[in-house]
Symmetry: C2
């Protein structure tokens, strides 16, 4: 069993580093800090390296211990959490330099890039994978550790709303709640708190929202200039793609955000039951899940909009044909 | 035990009517339709009378059976669900005319206005009270009944986020999910679907939002003219008060909505940990919970705003003094 080997490697290591994916969300930061507490429970101090993340996650137990980099050149052990491939792993030089590597994840697309890979695509969050590890190791879940785990689960499932949430997910929530984990507080600090800058961006996204295909498609955008004007920080664009998706009758929500290099936009797409947005993003060299995907497209707002809408239109025609 | 008496009354009744509170939310409609299915399980056909509710709830099993009124003048039994007092009960003539009356609720402020009252203020939703009844009666929970119950729980707890959600709530969710209740679908149809009119109202609320007390207080409004322009239907103003509350640093969110009689506004207030908005609304003849309350205030937007802000300012000063 991989989990036995992982336990052995953690116990054998003198120096451990924990890494996660770029633009880290609640599950990425939550998993990293949970993994740190699991190592601690096993008698090991581990470094968590996340150069950049939303300050909204600073409420997490151990967040003040997160490092931007490290003096250790070659760790005995590197653990990647919530990350599907080496390319998306931030500060991945610590991973490639490490003597041994472990990957713990829940993405079905995981490339198994570690010496040991513990990946469960049935889990709705990497934090639930970690909870399973804890159960297997028969380790106690402290309130702090539980807070990290619940944060990953709540953020990655949108508050228990996504497919992939299982009876086990709810049972874990029941257990952690009864252990004193403050679930309403976690909701408040994650899903229910918008930064002022995020609110201002939301306002612009809503004001600019356009509808296509008889109200089945929404499109909106944010430029670098917008982000500058509202003093946006990392993470302040989170959730903007969801605004269109939640409107009655909308099947595809498109949100584009200007990239640093100005003449390109990061495209985020969400869909209902009909359209596979991963297929559409794949055409532009991107990808993701069927209902949530992304890509980068060159051009200005109008050019990018035209390119995507053309493919979306095709997808609707194809879907109609298949009915 | 009241529950035994309630069971007896349902079994003895030939004609049963189920009623709920005005401006019915997901827990009100969910409880009503769940109660209908419980009666059915006990071999009884019950009328559900709800003259007006958001069409977003039409996905609920049995929604097509909801009546606007009834030819039966005197029911053998009237059951009020999710309603704290007779005044807020819609079509309450069917209640006062009935031979026997039962109240099933979860509001701490319930006035116990029935012949039999089964009220559990510890439950985060009336639907959870009904789930407890089902357990006591050892009745099977069908997928349809489970869908009604989960709808009440998900809408009244904002998707398991509010205080009052207990380990038992999560365990019930685990049980219903394993019975095939489609929880992601319920989220989509309730919390994750905005009507187009609701979206348009949201846009106006956001555009008009003002900040006071160093960003700790937000204020916004909607007029009858707005509702007319966006073709608003019952329920389309739901959730607008939450927009301000979710912004970082906001302690009190104030949303006012013009009443039919034009020279008055319905005030909705939400707060964080510091301010008791029920106390503030009480000054204006309203009330509610500490963190969610309402009132009706005479005047135009500016007048109403001034009146509330004055009291909010006082409450902040008082809170500062108590620190």
């Amino acid at each position: 069993m991989t989990l036995d080997e992982i336990l052995k490697e953690i116990k054998n290591a003198e120096t451990i580093v924990i890494l996660t994916h770029e633009s880290p969300d609640g599950d990425a930061v939550g998993s990293s800090l949970a993994m740190r507490l699991i190592a601690k429970e096993l008698g090991k101090n581990a470094d968590v390296i996340i150069p950049e993340y939303s300050r909204l996650f600073n409420f997490l137990p151990g967040a003040s211990e997160i490092k931007k980099d490290s003096d250790v050149e070659k760790y005995d052990l590197a653990i990647a959490v919530d990350c599907a491939d080496l390319k998306r792993l931030v500060a991945n030089e610590y991973f490639t330099n490490a003597a041994k590597t472990i990957v713990i994840d829940h993405h079905g697309s995981n490339t198994m890039f570690g010496d040991y890979n513990y990946v469960n695509p049935a889990s709705p969050a990497c934090c639930e994978v970690l909870a399973g590890m804890l159960q297997y190791y028969e380790l106690n879940i402290s309130k702090d550790l539980g807070t990290c785990l619940m944060t990953g689960i709540i953020t990655d499932t949108g508050g228990f709303q996504h497919r992939g949430v299982s009876p086990e997910t709810f049972e874990l929530a029941a257990e952690l709640l009864s252990k004193g984990v403050d679930i309403p507080y976690i909701y408040k600090m994650t899903l229910r708190t918008k930064t002022k800058a995020n609110f201002e961006l939301q306002k612009r996204v809503i004001d600019r929202m356009e509808f296509f295909e008889d109200g089945k498609v929404t499109f909106s955008y944010i430029t670098k200039q917008d982000e500058k004007e509202v003093n946006a920080e990392p993470g302040d664009h989170e959730g903007l793609v969801e605004i269109g998706r939640e409107i009655e009758g909308v099947e595809v929500s498109i949100f584009i955000r200007q990239r640093e290099d100005k003449n390109a936009y990061k495209v985020s797409m969400r869909s209902g039951d009909l359209i596979n947005v991963s297929d559409i993003c794949f055409i532009f060299g991107g990808g993701g899940h069927q209902r949530a995907a992304g890509a980068v497209i060159q051009g200005d707002v109008e050019q990018v909009k035209k390119k995507i809408l053309k493919e979306v239109e095709k997808a609707f025609e194809k879907a109609k044909g298949m009915k």
